[in-house]
Structure formats: structure tokens, C-alpha cells
């Protein structure tokens, strides 16, 4: 009873006070209860893919948004996870439950390698140089078709479980775990260091932060999460093909990340949950089938013109305000800060407003 009351108090005071946190809670519950309420195989299939790509987008955001290492070759990690897991489960006949972790580990190794090579690069140089790595890998795959399956990829993989609902829950719970893990990481002291590295690497180094070590760690973590999603993806669609390494996928994740709003983690996840089902749904119409990528690009372009910082920060600014004194967030309807009691909307007298602020 005590625990229940304590839990309710936590919920009311920490989650329900902020519309954004309430939204996240509602989204989580909806995600977990969906198969019970609406058991349609097609919808579950789309949502499973959405969950897998959400992990991928969130991992990109940790690297590009928080640390400022805008990676144009994130597909490398996705592909590394997919191929490693596929090769191990098919050639060595190991259960996919084990190979997924091996895929994530290999991807982390790749991430460490790429991070090591790119330590001295900055800004646009880093973006454009990282674009090269998945393509080098792709070239090698095509050059050794006996090992990699060439253009056809590695097919005939086993799924993690046979039922549609089971696969959905694996993807959804995996997604929630990874995304909340990344979010917690980004909110911790570690995340603050990452912010510092993005904003001013020199100043961070001058403050005694070993920036190369942090950058390598972030590359490895982000790559591990991306490799995990790649392995899930390979075992879900039961094929690991060259499409997991293509430029299109790298660009796709950049679009998701920036469309949702960088350095938020939940932004890219929201973007995937909006854009991926939307494009699939549009693609299911016969008239739109061929035009779906076009519509997708036009939507992205139009939305960006109105919210250049991305979707999630825009929505958050609409439903919440920041307390001018303690910098905590409050619902837009609050007149007083819920934590420090400072007035949120000070009525500025008309004369003062005309003079401007000084």
C-alpha cells in the first residue's frame, strides 16, 4: 500500500505535471498494449520496423546531436550488426538470441575504429569522411561474394520467435530499453560532457576532460545500439542485404534525426514513429505507391520551413515554458514555477514593452 501510494505520488509529481512527460507515458502504454487492443498483422509488422528504426535513429542522435560528430555513415554500424549476426547464426548455427549481442559488439568495435580514425576531424570534414566507411564496406562485400552473399545478401535467417505478437514485443521492449538507456545516459554527467564537447571542444579539453576518450566511448556506444537494431532488423526480415549499408539508409537516419530535433533522443524517435508509418501507409495506396518517397521528402521540406529546429523542440516549446529563474520546465498553463515559485508570465507594462528591454 505504501509503495502504491509512493508510486502514485511520484507519477503525479514527476510525470503528470509536464505535458511532454505525460505524452511519453501515454505513448509507452499505447505501444505495450497495442497487440491486445488491435491485433492486425500488417499494423504490427509496420510498428515492429518502426521500433527497430527508432533504436537506430536514437543511437545516431547520441553521436550527432549530443556530441556533434555528425555521422553520415551510420549505416555502417547497422550493416555491421546485421551481417555479423546473420553470418554467425547461419554459418556457426548459433541461436539468434546470442548472435544479436555479437552483432552489437562487432558494431561497437567498428564504431571504435571509425571514431579512432576520425578523432582529428571536425565538422563537415567528419561528416563527409564518415560517409565513406559504409561504402568501403559495401565495396568489399561485393568483391567477396562467397563470404557475404554479394548483391543478394544472406537470406534464410531464423526469426527470434515465430509469432507476430512475440516479434513485436521483442522489438518494442528492446526499443524502450535502449532508448530509455540512451536517454538516461544523455541526461547523466556523461551527457553533460558530451554537450560540452559539441559546443566547444577546446574549452572542454582545457577544463581537463579527456575528449578523445569520450568521443571514442560515444562512437562505440552509439554504434553498439545501431548494431543491435541492425541485428534485430536482419532477423526480423530474415535477410541481411547490401541495403543495410547503403547511402540511402545513412541519409534516412540523418533526416529522421534532424526532422525530430537533434540532441533530444526522443525527437528522432518521435520522427521515426511519425514518418515511417506515414510513408508505409501512403505507400499502401495504389495511387500514391510510386510517389511515397516524393511525398515523404516534400513533407520533410515543408515541416522544416516552419520548424527549422525540428519537430520535438517546436512541440515542446508550444506546450511548456522554461522557468526564468531555475530553468525547470513547466506546463504552458502555469502562472508560477512548480519548483521555485517564480512568476512565469510577468505582465510587462505597456510603456516598458514599447521601450524594449533595457
Amino acid at each position: 500500500m505504501y509503495l502504491a501510494r509512493r508510486g502514485w505520488a511520484e507519477l503525479r509529481n514527476e510525470v503528470l505535471v509536464l505535458p511532454s512527460r505525460t505524452l511519453v507515458l501515454v505513448w509507452m502504454l499505447a505501444l505495450l498494449s497495442l497487440p491486445v487492443a488491435y491485433d492486425d498483422a500488417y499494423a504490427l509488422r509496420i510498428l515492429t520496423m518502426t521500433c527497430i528504426f527508432a533504436i537506430f535513429a536514437a543511437s545516431w542522435d547520441l553521436l550527432a546531436g549530443y556530441t556533434g560528430q555528425v555521422n553520415f555513415g551510420h549505416a555502417l554500424f547497422f550493416g555491421a550488426g546485421a551481417y555479423t549476426s546473420a553470418l554467425m547464426s547461419l554459418r556457426l548455427d548459433i541461436s539468434p538470441w546470442a548472435t544479436i549481442w555479437a552483432g552489437a559488439a562487432t558494431a561497437a568495435l567498428f564504431g571504435y575504429g571509425v571514431g579512432y580514425l576520425c578523432l582529428r576531424l571536425r565538422g563537415s570534414y567528419l561528416s563527409l569522411a564518415t560517409l565513406a566507411f559504409p561504402l568501403i564496406a559495401l565495396g568489399l562485400l561485393f568483391a567477396f561474394p562467397d563470404f557475404s552473399g554479394g548483391e543478394l545478401g544472406i537470406s534464410g535467417l531464423r526469426r527470434l520467435t515465430q509469432s507476430v505478437t512475440g516479434n513485436y514485443y521483442i522489438a518494442a521492449i528492446g526499443m524502450l530499453a535502449v532508448v530509455f538507456g540512451l536517454w538516461a545516459l544523455a541526461d547523466s554527467k556523461f551527457g553533460i560532457v558530451l554537450h560540452a564537447i559539441r559546443d566547444d571542444e577546446l574549452a572542454a579539453r582545457a577544463s581537463g576532460i579527456n575528449t578523445p576518450r569520450y568521443k571514442l566511448a560515444v562512437f562505440a556506444i552509439s554504434a553498439a545500439a545501431a548494431g543491435f537494431s541492425g541485428a534485430l532488423f536482419a532477423h526480423y526480415i530474415r535477410i541481411a542485404g547490401p541495403s543495410t549499408l547503403e547511402v540511402a539508409l545513412s541519409f534516412q537516419v540523418v533526416i529522421w534525426g534532424i526532422f525530430g530535433g537533434v540532441a533530444t533522443i526522443y525527437g528522432p524517435v518521435a520522427a521515426v514513429f511519425i514518418l515511417y508509418p506515414l510513408t508505409e501507409w501512403l505507400g499502401s495506396f495504389k495511387a500514391f505507391g510510386e510517389l511515397r518517397l516524393l511525398i515523404f521528402a516534400v513533407i520533410v521540406l515543408l515541416v522544416l520551413l516552419f520548424m527549422p529546429r525540428g519537430l520535438a523542440p517546436w512541440v515542446r516549446d508550444k506546450i511548456e515554458t522554461q522557468c526564468p529563474r531555475c530553468k525547470q520546465r513547466n506546463g504552458i498553463w502555469k502562472k508560477m514555477c512548480r519548483l521555485c515559485g517564480a512568476a512565469l508570465k510577468t505582465e510587462v507594462p505597456r510603456a516598458q514593452r514599447l521601450v524594449g528591454h533595457q
Binding site: 570534414y125 541519409f251 540523418v254 518517397l293 521528402a297
Partner: protein
């Protein structure tokens, strides 16, 4: 084989130089990483195809119209899409990606996904040192050389060029000196896309035209630009020749070279970046913290 390598490398290098110099110009002046750059090249190739094969116009007429049309389209795109979000670097980036996707899908929708062939502008071949070069490839080389000299002339011998170089050097100071920075950026976009469009038109008869033809040169072009140093025109030119020759050597010498040519070119870029993070001729970006 040696002659083949020499000539193929030179011709591919010329095409890459046309693309890379344009990209470098935009990056230098407006700090835009223009992913849609090669999409304009694809657009020009399609335009050329439509005017030449479908409408039956002459080679020269359709070439000029497609270059002019694509340049105009790029200026409209810049005004409508890029300029409103100029302050947000990330937004500009995915705006250009979205533009490229839109062009790709439009072409896919209007011409279909299959490969389209364009008849050669010039028939016949010339024999030099035992290697035969079709006139079409020679034309590519001549056009590339002429256009690059023209760009050099514009940049270093005209007032517009002075404005472009000044803006690339320091945008704010150029603005304070009374240059209309927006108009300079617009002119740069026009010049650079015109270069890409010209490359598209001359290359179309040699390569096949399809809606995804922008991806491969995009990656090579980015590798060249990074290799040579972002924003450096000399670097882009030399980088283009290096990558052109590396690709030619890979294709002719290694087994399975056609698959590996991209990988080898990109690996060279990575190696150069390891030694010199700012590229061969890039300025060290110490002050741009």
C-alpha cells in the same frame, strides 16, 4: 593498358573536377553542404535526354536549354528552400537531401526507372599512341578544360569573382564592405550548378541515364572535396585528378576492380585525412572553433 589508364583517368578526373569545383564554391561562400549538387547533374542529363530524343531538337540547342533551365531551377530552389533556413545548418543539410530525393522521385515518376541511352553527340574516334578515344570522350575533356578556365577567369579577373572570393574568406566583413552577400551567394549557386549541369549534359551520351545516377558521383565528389580540402578550388581540381586516376588504375589492374573502385578511392581519402585532417590544400580550421 597504360594509355587506357592515362586517358580514362584524365577524362573521369575532368568530369569530377567540374562537379567538385562547383561544390567547393558553394561550400566556401555559403557554407552549404549541398547534397543535391549531383542531383542537378542528373536533372540536366534528363533534360538533355528529353529535349534531344523526345523533342528532337539539335545537340547544341538542347544542351544550352538544359544547362540554362537547370541553373534557373537551382536558383528558384535556393530562394524557396535553402534561404529561409540558412541560419540552421542542420536544416539546410536535410533540405538539400530532401531536394535530391524529390528530383530523383520526380524523374522516376516521369521517365521510369529503366536506363536511358542517348546517342553520341559526335561519332568516330581518334587514335593516339595506340589507344582509340571516341570523340565524345574528347569532347568531355575539352568542355571540362574550357569550363574550368572560364571559372578561373570569373573568379580571378572579374568584380563578381572578387566578391565571391571575399565572401568565401569572411562573410561578415564582405557584408560590411558593401557587398550584397545574398546576391553573391545566389550567383555562386548559379555558377556551381551550371558547372554540374554542363557535366551532366556532356556525360549523358557516355554513361546511361537513370534516376539513381546522382548517388555514385555524389560520394566520389564528396571524397574529392574532402581530400583536396573543403572550399579550396585548387584542392578540388587536384583531388579530382587523383581520384580519377586511382579509379582508372583500380578498374584496369585489380580483379573485381569495378566493385572496388569506389572503396579504393574512399580509402585513399581516409588515409589522406589521417595524415592531414584539413585535406591537401585546406586551410587549418583553428580559428573556426
Amino acid at each position: 593498358m597504360l594509355q587506357d589508364i592515362l586517358i580514362t583517368g584524365l577524362i573521369n578526373g575532368g568530369v569530377y573536377a567540374l562537379l567538385a569545383v562547383g561544390f567547393s564554391l558553394i561550400f566556401g561562400v555559403a557554407r552549404i553542404v549541398n547534397i543535391a549538387h549531383t542531383a542537378f547533374y542528373m536533372l540536366a542529363a534528363y533534360c538533355f535526354y528529353a529535349l534531344l530524343v523526345k523533342a528532337g531538337l539539335g545537340f547544341a540547342v538542347s544542351g544550352v536549354i538544359s544547362v540554362a533551365g537547370v541553373t534557373l531551377a537551382s536558383m528558384v530552389c535556393y530562394r524557396l528552400v535553402i534561404e529561409p533556413v540558412r541560419e540552421h545548418e542542420a536544416a539546410v543539410l536535410i533540405a538539400t537531401i530532401a531536394l535530391a530525393l524529390i528530383f530523383q522521385e520526380l524523374m522516376l515518376f516521369s521517365f521510369g526507372g529503366h536506363y536511358l541511352g542517348i546517342p553520341s553527340t559526335l561519332e568516330g574516334a581518334v587514335h593516339i599512341l595506340g589507344a582509340s578515344i571516341p570523340y565524345q570522350r574528347l569532347l568531355i575533356l575539352v568542355v571540362a578544360a574550357v569550363m574550368l578556365s572560364f571559372v578561373w577567369f570569373v573568379l580571378y579577373r572579374t568584380r563578381l569573382g572578387l566578391a565571391i572570393r571575399a565572401t568565401a574568406n569572411d562573410l561578415e566583413v564582405a557584408n560590411l564592405m558593401g557587398m550584397n552577400v545574398n546576391r553573391v551567394a545566389m550567383a555562386t549557386v548559379a555558377i556551381s550548378v551550371a558547372l554540374a549541369a554542363i557535366a551532366g549534359v556532356v556525360v549523358a551520351p557516355v554513361f546511361v541515364v537513370d534516376p539513381f545516377m546522382w548517388l555514385a558521383p555524389l560520394v566520389t565528389m564528396l571524397a574529392i572535396v574532402v581530400l583536396g580540402g573543403l572550399g579550396s578550388l585548387k584542392g578540388s581540381l587536384i583531388g579530382a585528378l587523383i581520384i580519377g586516376y586511382v579509379e582508372a588504375i583500380t578498374v584496369f589492374v585489380l580483379p573485381a576492380g569495378a566493385y572496388l573502385k569506389g572503396a579504393v578511392a574512399l580509402a585513399i581519402m581516409v588515409v589522406v585525412l589521417l595524415a592531414r585532417p584539413e585535406g591537401l590544400f585546406g586551410v587549418a580550421f583553428e580559428e573556426e572553433r
